[in-house]
Assembly symmetry: C2
DNA sequence: TTTTGTGAACGTGTTCACAGCG
DNA sequence: CGCTGTGAACACGTTCACAAAA
């Protein structure tokens, strides 16, 4: 399969969610146009995205909802379960642990780590918080994905420990660019960037035109 | 000012963070190459991004750290404070409320809403949880940004209530595409999409080649 | 010599538009 | 006729490469 763009993969997730809903509504078929409308994109985009993986539709009819849903499920690797370790038992870590949606999509949090002695040994959502120093032993747990919900300063170090423990994918919530070896997939969720991007957009809306700020350096 | 791409704005946030660090380290000047290295991108990208807003550097010398930091701060609209309302006092909502980073960047959460009677009236991080039915009154609070941390089903409805209350920017944590009127900025943080994108990447890594799944429709 | 600022070249993702099939 | 699948056209973001300035 050729190189698939990150945007295509993200849209696939969205299609999957829409198909879930449409399936629950009892509809049997759906056209690329309808699917596109629910996502606010063009129908050509939907067809192009799907075409990278095969021909799932019937000309004149559209796509079979249940079938396409299963195809995307398999493409996204959701037809199996993934073993996830969470590092950081603070506010965000606890919130992620309590969020039922992960398990529902096939992501099982099987271990949680923290460095704070006050947190180690505590029970959170049925899991005992382990000492982050024990991260190397995560290899024996068969962890495939690591979630980093630590403070900024610890993030890079934790990423390296996770990689050393054999993790092949990392979801990072710390507001910093992490460096990981090639072959390890990294996704970052940075709420600060999102807020600042909003603030930029709002500022533009109020004061639309402005040009060449120039000004002194040094 | 011409249309600025979303990616440029996001990188600006990253530059800002790097400049903070470099500033704290006491360095006076920084070159586009150094700035780029810290973010894992090319120096041309840094210079191009900055050039959309002005000429902040000195040839042969680089950029004055403190000055560039202030310029970006102003570009991103971080030279003022923003009034934020949080809707949803569940796990994610509470975690966001407790996160000190928002206030540090100029985003003040001044109200929190929920629909659950068990939560209304509770104190969370010094704020009393208000009834979501009172959202229209948020207009009198001068709220500019709304953060949606509700369950999936309520998200679109809440978005509309926020817009009606005069909010011009929305940060959405619900895993769904929201529809908002033109002129309202929307950013979505969808952890499910990130995880599924990871799962796709890992699946690819194991079983690289595969082609044309074809198969029956209907 | 170092490093910026930027037009031009390049590459990649999106949209168009239509042939092909049901 | 309706709708998919896809090459071609297009738009847009990134990288190159170099003139200009310190």
């Amino acid at each position: 399969m050729g190189r698939i763009s990150e945007s295509t993969v993200r849209r696939l997730s969205h299609y999957y969610r829409v198909l879930d809903e449409v399936h629950a509504e009892g509809r049997r078929m759906i056209s690329s146009r309808r699917l596109a409308e629910r996502e606010g994109i063009t129908s050509a985009q939907v067809r192009k995205d799907l075409s990278y993986f095969g021909s799932f539709g019937r000309r004149g009819l559209g796509y079979n909802v249940a079938h396409l849903r299963e195809e995307i499920r398999s493409i996204l690797g959701l037809d199996r379960r993934w073993r996830v370790a969470l590092v950081g038992a603070g506010h965000i870590g606890s919130a992620l642990l309590a969020y039922r949606g992960f398990a529902a999509q096939g992501f099982d949090i099987v271990a949680i780590y923290d460095r704070d002695p006050a947190r180690i040994g505590q029970k959170l959502s049925g899991l005992t918080v382990l000492d982050a120093a024990a991260l190397p032993a995560a290899a024996t747990l068969g962890i495939e994905i690591g979630v980093i919900a630590t403070p900024l300063k610890a993030a890079q170090e934790v990423a390296e420990a996770l990689v050393a423990a054999g993790v092949r994918g990392i979801l990072n919530f710390a507001p910093r660019k992490l460096f990981v070896p090639e072959g390890v997939a990294l996704r970052t969720v940075d709420m600060t960037v999102e807020l600042e991007s909003l603030s930029f957009a709002l500022r533009q809306a109020r004061a639309p035109r402005r040009r060449r700020g120039s000004g002194p350096a040094e």
